[in-house]
Amino acid sequence: MTDVDLRDPGLSEAGYPAERVSLVDLLDRVLAGGVVVTGEITLTIADVDLVVISLRALLTSVSALVEPQPKGDR
């Protein structure tokens, strides 16, 4: 274990202060990235072993959400 405070949202390698990551940058990564490990066995409990939504398709429908822009919010 290192001495880094694991609860610290983070000073990066380069000493960047922790910032709240933007949702779009986050979704870009967690929805289209990350590994998907599928399996062969089908259990009787559920119809599918693995629930993985095709998130590219959903991202299109999500991104079409039009949110009204409050004036001056740019």
């Binding site: 959903l58 039009v66 009204p68």
Partner: protein, 108 residues
């Protein structure tokens, strides 16, 4: 008007969320932005076609002058409509997802 709970297949639904509960003005402005975006699209298409015809030399100077003047007045009128609804030129657009925005930058 939130849209939770609908079961249409993913990717086949475009949602417009007008938060009428929070701000009726915003809903009206959102609707106006949509309508004016279409109007502006038509205006830009007409303008580009006019420019092509002027370049091709298929219109007389007099016709070109009238075309240009009409388009100029249309642009002014669009600016007035935007002011009336409290919108900026940058508010006019529709994001077509992978196809990008519907309109190019206003001044491009």
């Amino acid at each position: 008007m939130s849209q939770a709970g609908q079961a249409a297949p993913a990717g086949q639904r475009v949602r417009y969320r007008l938060d009428a509960d929070d701000d009726p003005q915003a809903a009206e402005r959102g609707l106006a932005a949509l309508v004016l975006t279409i109007v502006e699209l038509l205006r830009q298409l007409m303008e580009r076609q006019a420019l092509r015809r002027v370049e091709d030399g298929t219109v007389t100077d007099e016709q070109a002058e009238r075309l240009g003047y009409t388009l100029m007045r249309l642009e002014e009128r669009m600016g007035e409509l935007l002011d009336e609804f409290g919108l900026e030129w940058e508010d006019l657009n529709i994001d077509l997802g992978p196809l990008g925005p519907l309109l190019d930058d206003h001044r491009a």
